[in-house]
């Protein structure tokens, strides 16, 4: 009796020490630790959050509306007077509020178009990779074709024809940004299907659904996250290019591309009109790129 008790105690304590010594570290915890060690990436994420927060909250807090002209304060340089912190444009609209509103649009286009193109890419790539054979080679031919076309010109053609509404800009950008994801997901799916650990799981009788969700999806997810982060800045850039050329977001709505375009028109007399929107855009692009690099280093264990 007492012996049994003793043994149970021993087992319990051993269990306990084992628990303490070998806590499970999932690949995600590992990745998080690696990411947090990357100072530039962490700093970028913080800065991105700040920019996003400012874009969301700023226009409510600041005492100006983005489209209200102030005839007493036209083309003001940055000043604390009347809270025109970044100055005003030639019709007296506050640049800071306009930049933040423009940031909302740019970031929203970025996130939306990234989401749609990532979804399209995953579905396309996974389908091609899973079915394989003729379907696969046909679907990948289409991807090759999309790579071979001069996308900016066709994007210009599309926005000219379809119109320049917000969602049309998102669609146009999506059409030309899903191919990377499709390729990567297809390759990943193909190689994962025949990996030993998937085979092993199948051999010990793990049901297919659990194989997919426990073994294949987590392995896909890393790549998806990395490519999504890389896609966002490219998408924002494309939106800005279109808007800069006058083919994207239209007045009175604004985006960073529109603001930069407006800024170039008056840069001789009021250079801040060019400087600040450009700074917002560049900072955002920079941060997304660093975050993407950081994520890649953190999530891709092969690449170390």
């Amino acid at each position: 009796m007492s012996f049994n008790n003793k043994r149970d105690d021993l087992v319990a304590s051993l269990d306990h020490t084992l628990d303490a010594a070998i806590t499970g570290r999932s690949p995600w915890l590992d990745a998080r630790a690696r990411f947090l060690r990357n100072k530039a990436a962490v700093f970028s994420v913080v800065l991105l959050c700040l920019i996003a927060l400012a874009c969301i909250v700023g226009p409510w807090v600041l005492p100006h509306a983005f489209d209200s002209a102030d005839w007493d304060a036209m083309s003001l340089p940055p000043t604390f007077k009347n809270w025109h912190l970044l100055g005003t444009d030639e019709s007296g609209r506050d640049l800071l509020v306009r930049s933040l509103i423009g940031g909302r649009i740019s970031l929203m286009v970025g996130l939306l178009a990234t989401m749609t193109s990532v979804t399209l890419g995953i579905v396309w790539g996974a389908t091609a990779g899973f079915i394989g054979g003729r379907v696969d080679s046909f679907m990948m031919r289409i991807v090759d074709m999309m790579y071979a076309v001069p996308y900016l010109l066709i994007a210009i053609l599309m926005v000219t024809i379809l119109g320049r509404a917000f969602y049309l800009v998102v669609i146009t950008i999506t059409v030309f940004s899903w191919m990377d994801m499709a390729r990567v997901v297809r390759g990943q799916t193909l190689s994962l299907r025949s990996k030993e650990f998937v085979e092993a799981a199948r051999a010990i009788g793990v049901p297919t659904r659990r194989i997919i969700f426990q073994h294949i999806v987590p392995n896909l997810l890393g790549v998806v996250v990395i490519y999504a982060t890389v896609t966002i800045p490219n998408v924002i850039l494309t939106e800005s290019v279109l808007s800069f050329l006058g083919l994207g977001i239209q007045e009175p709505m604004t985006s960073w591309g529109v603001l930069i375009h407006d800024g170039t028109a008056v840069m001789e007399i009021s250079p801040w009109m060019l400087l600040f929107p450009a700074l917002f855009l560049s900072l955002t692009l920079y941060c997304f790129n660093y975050t993407g690099d950081g994520l890649r280093d953190a999530l891709d264990p092969k690449d170390r």
């Binding site: 071979a148 900016l152 930069i260 692009l285 790129n289």
Partner: protein
């Protein structure tokens, strides 16, 4: 080799065909005809105009007409620039784009490879920081930010070059736009060259060459440079294409009458034939360029089998 070339040329055709067809259908889905205008045109004139441009035929017949004229190298008449055919407009714009884009891609290749090589050999030196700085700036500052800044500094403040415009290939007008394109191209060529050379220098055959006691100069020039150039070659294709045919931003910032500006104007004016013609032309150039790059790659890389 020749079968490979043949196969690649055959593979080009569906791409070009699909692009033409999709763009054609897209353009014809637009509301409004080319002759809608504020000014009332009499019904007879309108009917004649439509007949002249085959606009009275069903879509598939128009499409076949268009394909036929394309095969004869005729991009049609411009709907907006009266008395101009698209061919004539292109003939005027293409040399401008080719001069600026082609010139800058040549300079960028020399500069990028040179700087990238030095950066790779002298890591953490001044040149290395310069290359990394340029390439970081190139990724963070888009051309429509750098371009206006160049104008502000060199044209408005220092007054050393005109702010934009074009004057019969006068170098004065070419300096700033070419600097912009070159900066952006060097940003990527330099980084790729640096990275690939560093990687090559760590490979086994370089160690062998060093172990044989070859001087560093020979190792780099004879052994390392060629494999290190491969990624640069595959990068040059898209860069050259975007510098020559899709320099829309550069040409619009500096108001240069090249292909990019032409397509922007065409898009703004709803000039069907012009935009379609330009897209067709640029697609063909792009596809041919990609083919050339792939062939160069195949020639340079002994690992590639056709």
């Amino acid at each position: 080799m020749w079968t490979y070339v043949f196969r690649r040329v055959l593979a080009m055709i569906p791409t070009v065909f699909v692009v033409i067809t999709v763009c054609y259908l897209l353009l014809h889905a637009t509301p409004g005809g080319p002759f809608d205008s504020e000014r009332k045109v009499s019904a007879v004139v309108l009917a004649n105009l439509n007949a002249k441009y085959h606009l009275d035929l069903p879509l598939w017949q128009q499409y076949l007409y268009y394909l036929n004229s394309l095969l004869h190298g005729d991009l049609g008449a411009s709907f907006r620039y009266e008395d101009w055919s698209v061919n004539e407009l292109v003939a005027k714009a293409l040399p401008v784009s080719a001069a600026i884009g082609g010139g800058s891609i040549l300079i960028s290749l020399v500069l990028g490879v040179f700087l990238g090589t030095i950066a790779a050999l002298r890591q953490n030196s001044v040149v290395d920081y310069l290359v990394m700085g340029i390439s970081n700036a190139g990724t963070a500052f888009p051309s429509f930010v750098i371009g206006p800044v160049l104008i502000l500094v060199f044209a408005i403040w220092l007054k050393v070059a005109p702010a934009g415009g074009w004057d019969a290939f006068s170098p004065r007008y070419m300096v700033l736009p070419m600097s912009l394109l070159t900066f952006i191209n060097v940003a990527s060529i330099g980084r790729v060259m640096r990275g690939s050379l560093i990687e090559v220098l760590h490979s086994n055959f370089i160690r062998t060459a060093r172990a044989k006691g070859l001087p560093m100069r020979v190792i780099i020039l004879r052994h390392a440079l060629k494999p290190a150039l491969l990624p640069v070659v595959s990068l040059t294709g898209p860069l050259a294409i975007s510098s020559i045919t899709a320099a829309v931003v550069t040409e619009s910032v500096f108001s240069i009458p090249g292909l990019g500006k032409l397509i922007l104007n065409g898009a703004g004016n709803r000039d069907y034939t012009l935009v379609l013609g330009l897209v067709v032309l640029v697609t063909v150039i792009t596809v041919v360029f990609n083919l050339l790059v792939d062939l160069t790659y195949a020639l340079l890389d002994p690992k590639i089998r056709y």
